[in-house]
Amino acid sequence: MTEKEYNDCVDAHADGVFRFILKNLQHEEDARDIVQTAFEKMWKNRSSIVQETSKSYLFTVAYHQMIDHIRKNKRIQLVDTFEEGSRVSRGVSPDLKQELEKALQRLTPLQKSLVLLKDYEGYSYEEIGGITALNASQVKVYLHRARLQLKEYVGKLENII
């Protein structure tokens, strides 16, 4: 990989990696650090990386960096901080997008990553398995469980509303 090819990868994939990490961590500075670390690692190993596989390489490195960051800091609160009553009493308009965002934060880091990799980047089960070190069947099962949880949470909300 030449310098020009590396810079082309920055233009093509930096936003996607940043978005993916930011959605998971909900912290811009941490996401920026992880993305920068991923690109630095790709620069160091540029002699063994081709441009066609640079995207999956970046997401793989960023994902593992994110998991390590979560385990160290445990910033993400997985506990439900919202009560159903409060939601109804405040009379929040059923903004599905916002609810989905909230529901997404209720998922585990792995489930969240699977959903985002599938919806944001359009990876297949096999590609997601390569990034997260899972096989395709595991990705399918975990992803379906995550969507059912989202459906259950949003469904309850819609029923209430």
Partner: protein, 322 residues
């Protein structure tokens, strides 16, 4: 095939986009056939996250690397082949191989001639007069060992003198070692009986003679200087007259050794050892004499005077059969 037991899985696969176009058609038909499931199907389709446009974007300028210019490619020069060196012919040099080659040929020819000369001389020595001078080697009667050491010295010296005289005559006649063997078979027993002196001293003499006459003579002179009393006894009793080119000191030293080691032998000396030693001495003396002749001729040396001519001390020639 989608049915009421597995429709949820198909709805999720449809939402993930993992179904083929035919399978998607079947799912849509199933939903149309079951209107109660339409709301659930739509919910699955809406539970998808789309990348928002209002998300914060990362500053990618800190990620990019500066592209370094390839200086070797941008600032490269090509040689101008139109420029040539003037008077190139004046720079040529001739190799000195002819002179070296001629010298080597001369040296090789000289080496070949030298080797041929050596071989001619050696072959001439071998093809020398085959007739052996039949010299009667005097049979020395065994004299009884007396207690008087002076008598023992005299007898030992007498035996040595006769043996040295015979050895000189045989060498001058140019006898061949192989022809001497025949004579040795006839006179060997009597010769052994005549040697009363210590056989060990004789073997030592043979070994010293093989090493070189000069060294042996120096050692003999040293021994004479150390023990003057023994020399006076020998002079008073025997007064050996030098035979051939032997010096008086040489004879004194030889007699001294024999007197010191004058121990009666319990067994007869090993004749085979003596014969072999004599043969080896004979061969080496012929070769050494040849080398001396060549060295004198090459170096234009003069022949040494007769009184200072080197000769092996106490070297007796035993004629043996070939």
């Amino acid at each position: 095939m989608i049915n009421l037991l597995n429709y949820e899985t198909f709805f999720l696969l449809y939402a993930d986009g993992e179904l083929s176009p035919a399978e998607q058609e079947s799912v849509l038909e199933f939903v149309q056939q079951h209107p109660s499931l339409e709301e659930e199907f739509s919910l699955f389709c809406r539970l998808k996250f789309n990348p928002g446009k209002d998300l914060v974007k990362m500053d990618t300028s800190i990620l990019k690397k500066e592209i370094k210019e390839d200086l070797e490619t941008l600032y490269a020069f090509e040689p101008d082949l139109s420029i040539t060196c003037p008077n190139k012919s004046a720079l040529y040099k001739k190799e000195k191989g002819a002179i070296v080659y001629g010298f080597r040929m001369f040296a090789a020819a000289a080496a070949i001639l030298f080797t041929a000369g050596i071989l001619w001389l050696v072959m001439g020595e071998k093809q020398q007069d085959a007739s052996i001078v039949q010299l009667a080697i005097p049979v020395q009667q065994k004299k009884p060992m007396s207690s008087n050491p002076e008598d023992a010295f005299v007898s030992a010296i007498g035996v040595r003198e006769s043996n040295i005289q015979n050895a000189t005559e045989i060498q001058q006649a140019g006898h061949k070692p192989n022809a001497v063997k025949a004579i040795a078979a006839a006179v060997l027993p009597s010769l052994i009986a005549s040697t009363v002196a210590n056989t060990a001293a004789l073997q030592q003499d043979v070994q010293k003679e093989n090493a070189g006459l000069q060294i042996g003579e120096d050692e003999e002179r040293n021994q004479i200087n150390i023990d003057a009393s023994k020399a006076s006894i020998i002079d008073a009793s025997a007064k050996p007259t030098p035979r051939g080119n032997l010096s008086e000191a040489t004879l004194v030293a030889a007699a001294e050794r024999m007197a010191i080691n004058a121990v009666p032998m319990s067994s007869e000396p090993n004749a085979a050892v003596l014969i072999n030693a004599a043969l080896k001495t004979e061969k080496k003396s012929a070769l050494s004499s040849l080398i001396r002749i060549i060295n004198r001729r090459l170096l234009n040396e003069q022949e040494p005077p007769a009184d200072k001519k080197f000769i092996q001390v106490a070297n007796f020639y035993i004629p043996v059969n070939k």
